[in-house]
Amino acid sequence: AQTVTQSQPEMSVQEAETVTLSCTYDTSESNYYLFWYKQPPSRQMILVIRQEAYKQQNATENRFSVNFQKAAKSFSLKISDSQLGDTAMYFCALRDDNNDMRFGAGTRLTVKP
């Protein structure tokens, strides 16, 4: 069975600073995708970034980047130059070839002015 663990229920960061959200996972599959989703108070889940497990290069989307450590089964999200609009719940998710998608419990991030 696949599991996704986010060990930080809550985090905060000062505006313009950098924060890293942790995610570890477990799967027996060799081919899978990893995702970070953002859920602001509006409830809309928004894709932040995704990483194909077969790619060694870490994915980057503007201020968002990941540190993908396949051997350690770690997939952390780094947010640079944090903005007030980054305040949200962040969910790490894993999806395999069997279409089994699992989400972590989430990390509530607050960006302080």
Binding site: R43, Q44, A105
Partner: protein, 114 residues
């Protein structure tokens, strides 16, 4: 359409009543997914559709839950004889194809069972 839409956005019902939740996926997306998010929790996968077919219904919490999809587009999630523990946000997502595709989420339906 521009995105995944869900209706109603909020639903309050009495215990024992049936409710029907609707999801309109992004136009052209063949795969559709239903999730449940209880207060302060992560997402619990319920069921997915490839076209109109749902190959695996084991994620549905009980036999009071059912889902269907017609015309490869709109899907409805029906909860019969609702219980208080059914209170949650029900999220729908769609993707172009079933495998290895990013899922795009709707805004969810917040269900409160009194």
């Amino acid at each position: 359409g521009a995105g995944v839409s869900q209706s109603p956005s909020n639903k309050v019902t009495e215990k024992g009543k049936d409710v029907e939740l609707r999801c309109d996926p992004i136009s052209g997306h063949t795969a559709l997914y239903w999730y449940r998010q209880s207060l302060g929790q992560g997402l619990e996968f319920l069921i997915y559709f490839q076209g109109n077919s749902a190959p695996d219904k084991s994620g549905l919490p009980s036999d009071r839950f059912s889902a269907e999809r017609t015309g490869g587009s709109v899907s409805t999630l029906t909860i019969q004889r609702t219980q208080q523990e059914d209170s949650a946000v029900y999220l729908c997502a769609s993707s172009r194809f079933l495998s290895q595709e990013t899922q795009y989420f709707g805004p969810g339906t917040r269900l409160l069972v009194l």
